[in-house]
Amino acid sequence: MNDFVVSVDNSKINIKVLNENELTVDDEKFIYELFPVCDHSFILKLNNKVYELTSERLNSDLFKVLVQGYQSEVIVRTALQEKAFKLLESSAGFHHHHMNVKAPMPGLILKIKKNVGEQVEQGESVIILEAMKMENDLKAPASGIIEEVFVKEGSAVEKGFNLFTIG
């Protein structure tokens, strides 16, 4: 029940919350204390070290957490959820079907580097968006085929606007 698999950046960390003040991380034991300071701000004490965290909970499993200048997106799943997730991921038919890429901010589409039907690798640049007077590379979040492109070079987009899908 209190056995979690937490994904932070590219790491997976196993955490067991034993009780109100003890937990284990990959089997190492910690004494903990957690309490709120004010809106979005928490103090977490692990053994003798105190951390101040700023956090937004995006949904029940997804947190944005800022510690000492480093911000991470953290996904927390129970061990059971994680198993289900892995099964799904490894099953033959699983793809990032129609993964939709949206504009992270308003701006101007400077260049479209990949056309419909082209294969892209994860991390490859697909669109260049000009915003805040700077050129920003929008990259493929996963490998796949460009299925649709919803914008044209020179068009202005709002934040959250659909840009393209990868299948």
Partner: protein, 498 residues
Amino acid sequence: MFNKILIANRGEIAVRVIRACNELGIKSAAIYSDADKTSLHTRMADESCYIGNSPAHDSYLNKEKIIRLAKDIGADAIHPGYGFFSENADFIKALEKNRITFIGPSSKSVSLMGSKTEARKLMDKNKVPIVPGTTEAIESVKDGLIISKEIGYPVLLKAAAGGGGKGMRKISSSDEFESAFEATKREALKSFANDDIYIEKYVENPRHIEVQIFGDKHGNYVHLFERECSIQRRHQKIIEEAPSSFVDELTRKKITSAAVAAAKACGYYNAGTVEFLMDSKKNFYFLEMNTRLQVEHPVTELITGLDLVKEQISVAAGNNLSFKQSDLKINGHAIECRIYAEDPSNNFLPSTGTLIRYIPPSGPGVRVDSGFDSGSQITVHYDPLISKLVSWSDTRESAISRMLRALSEYVIGGLITNVSFLKIIIDHPSFRKGEFDINFLNDEFMQNLMSQADIKYIKEIERVSAIFAAILKSKSSINKLHAGQTDSLNHWQEQMYE
């Protein structure tokens, strides 16, 4: 002095000017757009006037509105900050016509230095060393090829109306010349409405050294020593320091004399900066002159003890400089980091949103010039600069330790910032040793960002984030099981999140 100063700018530099006005007992008037309702400059000025919609051309770049406003509210001077109208000769002329004092140089100095070829010609005439190349626009590919051969490849093609690293192209051999020539001309026309371009020798791995100068309206000139701004990404300065660890006393004497000569050559008054490239043998070449206050002016303030903005205001009011060259000496070492709302792990994509928590560092030797605070919005409309963090100490080494300490204290919640990226640079062995040039943040550095970070430290941070999320998740599961159970953590969790 003045009765009321209108500040035709926003963000940290507007706040900086408001503070100076306050200390001088001069009323300050801010302007703000829709996007800046929650910005600090809007809250801090004695008066704050709404100037228009968020896009800059509707607000901070609306010349007519700003001048009309200045007259309406009885402002007798305008401080332009940097960017926007700070180097716009037409704006200065319009102010002269309206009998409003511009806190900056004359329109003539600005025009002279605005044309890079004119500036090069003037410097050459006044024996300020310039990068080898032409002082006139080149007319044809044929001329260009001849000149480039003379200078020797690689060369740079540069827009005469450009500046700040914009509108230039490197050419490594004659094969590349023709297409580069045409592309640069097209870009120059598009960006600066002027397709004059000229040729400069490409200086290999130079350092960016600039000299702060000051002049008054009575012909007095001083320099305030040099700054080193070699740590740049895409020609954008990120970290600046004063003095430069690369410049020895003899070179300092030569380069500051050249800077003062440059200022005299264009009859300059107010604060200005003469930028140079310096090669590995400490030869230096005039690059351009910025006829305004620089972003990085605080490092000079910290090593000289002067207040450059107060001095700007005083000089604009017609006073003599309040100090002489012989009064000045370098005291300690100062470093500035520009804190940007951008994501280093995602190609420095700007990050926008609300500052849900904002705690600037403080304590000995730390200064923060910020334009925002908890609750402020960072929007897409302007430069993503949140603040400037400056450290001072008696030595460069301890100024670096102090900067690292301050970066670690900085809490900026709600946005992604470059704070962790800055830590990597400041803590880098080459930076610590002072061994770098303007290509320090090259592609290789950027691709190896993660391996340059303190991986052990990042693992710790990731673990902390993971533990936090797991505890919260565990609290929620408990609550589902034992409904009605009172639990303070659960209580506030609901308040915060649901």
